[in-house]
Amino acid sequence: MMKNLFMTCMLMLTLSLASCGKKEETKMCKECGVVPADERFNGYCEKCFEVAKMAARGERMGAPATAAGQNNPGPAKSAAPSPSNPPLDPSKLAIGMEVPEIEAEDVDGVKFKLSDYRGKVVVLDFWGDW
């Protein structure tokens, strides 16, 4: 996600440099620091503004934001919010493999883990009432 964002930012930067060549006068996005900020987005670039908005709504849990005006894209990656764990490699779900952990809330909102049931034969059923 952040990698894509970074690539997009770099692409936009390249394009903006190529088109106007006035980088030194442009105020950069206070989040990623590599894309010109947009007044409409409160000092962020559009992408970062969307990400920050979602984080503020608690939709995604990410690492703390990096310092404003950060020009090194490296640390910015640590701010990558992630909506869920990345998809597992299907080989991790093959017969004979140790089952991946699941940690989430039950229907009543109580957090629990699949590994709480280690020592039992477990039928794990992805279901829905539809």
Partner: protein, 108 residues
């Protein structure tokens, strides 16, 4: 599905066995009512408001429902998508490996 699962949960209540769901209904409050009405007695993770596009099914690459994994006492995946009699046989075999003899019979 539900009667078979309910029967398993009831028969194996005192055995080292658990049926754990990952539910992908979007509306959690409605789901609580459904579980009460349909006497769904086993515990489920909730996949979140995005339903079938929620984080757990996405991570696991689940594209059809139900998708079933049977896991042994050591936490290894041993069977997938077994239903009905096949599921009973899988559970019976894994419990036997763990030193517990069971004979599953359904009357619902």
């Amino acid at each position: 599905m539900y009667p078979h699962e309910r029967s398993l949960v009831r028969q194996l209540a005192d055995k080292p066995f658990a049926l754990i769901g990952v539910n992908s209904d979007r509306d959690r409050e409605n789901l609580k009512n459904v579980m009460k009405e349909k006497n769904i007695t086993w515990r489920s993770f909730w996949n979140g408001p995005a339903g079938t596009r929620g984080p757990i099914s996405t991570e696991w690459g689940v594209r059809s429902w139900p998708t079933i994994y049977v896991i042994d006492v050591d936490g290894k995946i041993r069977y997938k998508n077994v239903r009905g009699k096949q599921m009973d046989e899988a559970i019976t075999a894994l419990l036997k490996e763990a030193g517990t003899e069971v004979s599953i019979k359904h009357d619902e």
